[in-house]
């Protein structure tokens, strides 16, 4: 069985939570006791006839009271062939950082547009984030078709507008589907009222599109998370490097380079699933043993000799500022975390900000505010081993942590370039 992870994004009233509720309900993923509770809650919340589907995903008390999604809610459902993980993310502008979060692990983005309103500021914001995070497939769901009399003309108009507006964004695959989440038209089953639409229903689409990995180069990238040293009589000299092989393939006998340090050695043994295996494949958690006894600590990378990553104490990146407190150059002490590596860091320059409506580059005002996207130059206390995000989702991404508050204040993707002084 395959796994497809997707996230949903939309305006507050686009009916995002309703759409997910509809998928869960109509695919038979909701138990009767939960439906009973919801019916009771829908009455408390003021709706007295039908179940308020949004209550399925709005799990916190404040969300139910305010009728908005505040945080990312993860929901699960499966059909006979696929398991789905949904990250339902808030539409409200002040929680855009949560959408960035939900999107970072997604194979697919569903961007919801209210058929009455068409493409809005937030549609653009969500699309640019999908673009920055390199989501392999974007599905634009034009919802509330019931409120525009299921008009094909209106649908085509929005579709054309979306294509025109996002032309400069370098998006991967984009598909369009008309639907009405509230009444269930074209969500699980095809709708007579939308018979002009040649194509699958939303669920059919989700079940059949190929699960595409985010674009990755095929160079092997393994990062050390933990060093296993049993120090028992039988395993006195055992030293295993535990971590996940994020991309590519490694085989016992391969000559590899350890970074930082530039040390060349050979893999003597690979363990996976409590067994010795000849090769490690992308995505597998493994333990590597090396020929030479070198000092390798957490956060180090083990890579093939042929395709080595960049090494520099300066990087350029696009980042999303996620903290309520705005950033001014030079003020906060930061730590950059990439996978399991942590390095002290400082944002040296804000090259430009990205206007999320026009997608234009704006001159910087030396300040980064919540939910702003910017291209920055970061200086590090010691070299970072990295690839461009467009080459590798894991060696090309990072978060920034405020050293005083320990909060995650930004997330970023690295440019595919070596930055020198």
């Amino acid at each position: 069985m395959e796994l497809l992870r997707f996230f949903t994004a939309g305006n507050v009233d686009d009916g995002k939570s309703t759409l997910i509720g509809r998928l869960l309900l109509d695919s038979g993923s909701i138990s009767t006791d939960i439906i009973e509770t919801l019916t009771r809650q829908s009455k408390t919340a003021g709706e007295n006839t039908t179940i308020d589907l949004a209550l399925l995903t709005d799990g916190l008390r404040a969300e139910r009271e305010q009728g908005i999604t505040i945080d990312v809610a993860y929901k699960y459902f499966s059909t006979p062939n696929r398991k789905f993980i949904i990250a339902d993310t808030p539409g409200h502008a002040q929680y855009t950082r949560n959408m960035f979060t939900g999107a970072s692990t997604a194979d697919l983005a569903i961007i919801l547009i209210d058929a009455r309103n068409g493409v809005t500021e937030q549609t653009k914001r969500h699309t640019i984030i999908s673009s920055v995070l390199g989501i392999p497939h974007i599905l634009v769901c034009i919802n509330k078709m019931d409120l525009v009399a299921y008009s094909q003309e209106r649908y085509e108009e929005i579709k054309a507008d979306f294509e025109k507006t996002t032309k400069s964004l370098n998006l991967n695959k984009v598909s369009f589907i008309p639907a009405s989440a509230l009444s269930g038209e074209n969500v699980v089953t095809a709708s007579d009222k939308l018979s002009w639409h040649q194509g699958p229903s939303l669920l059919e689409f989700l079940e059949t599109i190929p699960v595409e990995a985010v674009k990755m180069n095929n160079a092997a990238r393994f990062q050390v998370q933990y060093v296993i040293r049993p120090q028992t009589t039988e395993l006195h000299d055992y030293r295993g490097y535990a971590g996940t092989l994020w991309s590519g393939e490694l085989a016992a006998g391969d000559e590899v380079k350890v970074l930082p340090g530039d040390f060349v050695t050979r893999i003597t043994k690979i363990e996976h699933n409590l067994q010795e295996v000849p090769t490690a494949k992308a995505g597998q958690p493994v333990v590597l043993q090396l020929e030479d006894d070198i000092d390798i600590s957490r956060g180090a990378w083990i890579v093939p000799l042929a395709k080595t990553p960049f090494v520099s104490n300066q990087v350029k990146a696009t980042l999303c500022w996620m903290d309520n407190q705005a950033f001014r150059t030079g003020i906060v002490k930061l730590v950059l975390q990439q996978g399991s590596a942590r390095i002290k860091a400082a944002i040296k320059e804000i090259d430009y900000k990205i206007d999320i409506e026009s997608f234009d580059k704006l001159p910087s005002d030396e300040e980064l505010r919540l939910n702003e996207l910017a291209s920055v130059k970061i200086r590090l206390a010691s070299p970072l081993i990295y690839d461009g995000y467009d080459q590798n989702r894991y060696s090309g991404s990072f978060i920034l942590i405020n050293e005083y508050t320990n909060q995650t204040v930004a997330a970023g993707v690295l440019n595919n370039e070596l930055v020198l002084d």
Partner: protein, 299 residues
């Protein structure tokens, strides 16, 4: 690697290794239930041939099923891993906290006191638990690394964003992190994994004859020394199993003839009632029961 169980397993092992790498004194909360048994299995895969970089910790409410306790002790012994047990009863006595009352006296909320005491006693900075997001709506919002203040409180509005494979476990002294490696697993995923990996479980997960009383809401509660029966109660012997293993006083049995894991999976595919709905008395109290318990330091 596209098989969904492989992807879920890899994610859980990554999170366990991050916990070992980022914290000085982690612990794995082990109850003898299926979710924490899966965690132990995943920890074996994450750290073998080394020992676990954390002890197993059990907060014993005193109302646990004897089968689960025996299983707990056997497993710890078989693996040669350290097991720490702290008892709710001792906390209640020491702190003069009144015990749970009523017909089905539940110490579920009271175990938070013992958990927080145990965290303080051993200065644990991370506690790994088997909670899953599909269990409950408030849990659906929980992070893999959930930061708690020194009172163990959860603030759902101040959660750290979690992106890609990056987990920020940096904390100030006194704070601790609850870690949930199987966050993305559903009940059915857990059973499919148990089947695939041939993981051993306590016997009460499978069908057996048991003396039960039927509650007003139709739940089957086992009779035992902690439950007070009144004249109106009719005790019946039924063929049951447990879908979750919590306390004997607040976990209901379900009628079942499932003798093995494959039977259980078939049963769940046709089930119309959710896991917590079928088996827990305590979540029926209010819509936000779990959210409130978590804010107070519960898992």
């Amino acid at each position: 690697m596209s098989d969904y169980l492989d992807r879920l397993e890899a994610e859980a092992i990554h999170v366990l290794r991050e916990t070992a790498g980022q914290f000085e004194r982690p612990a794995l909360l082990f109850s003898g239930g299926k979710d924490s048994i899966c965690l132990v299995h995943l920890a074996l895969k994450a750290f073998s041939p080394g020992k676990f970089p954390f002890p197993l910790v059990h907060v014993d409410t005193g109302h646990n099923f004897p089968e689960a306790l025996a299983f707990r002790d056997n497993l710890a012994e078989k693996l040669g891993e350290k097991l720490i047990v702290r008892r709710v009863e001792d906390t209640l006595k020491r702190k003069g906290i009144p015990d749970a009352k009523g017909k089905f006296p539940s110490r579920n909320a009271l175990q938070t006191h013992t958990l927080l005491e145990t965290i303080e006693e051993f200065e644990f900075d991370a506690c790994i638990g088997g909670a899953r997001r599909d269990e409950e709506k408030a849990r659906a919002k929980e992070r893999f690394f959930s930061v708690r203040d020194e009172f163990g409180q959860w603030d759902p509005k101040l959660q750290r964003p979690e992106l890609w494979n990056i987990y920020n476990g940096k904390i100030h002294k006194g704070e601790n992190v609850r870690v949930f490696p199987i966050s993305n697993w559903t009940e059915l995923d857990v059973w499919n994994y148990i089947l695939r990996e041939n993981i051993e479980l306590p016997s009460i997960y499978f069908t057996h004859e048991r003396e039960c009383v039927v509650t007003e809401s139709g739940q089957l509660m086992t009779t035992n020394e902690f439950v007070t029966l009144d004249g109106a109660d009719v005790v019946e012997t039924r063929l049951v199993r447990y879908r979750t293993v919590g306390d004997m006083t607040c976990t209901a049995a379900v009628e079942s003839r499932a003798v093995n894991v494959a039977d259980i999976i078939d049963e769940l595919k046709n089930a119309t009632v959710s896991e917590r709905g079928a088996t827990r008395m305590d979540d029926r109290i209010s819509e936000a029961a779990m959210e409130d318990r978590k804010k107070g330091g519960y898992f």
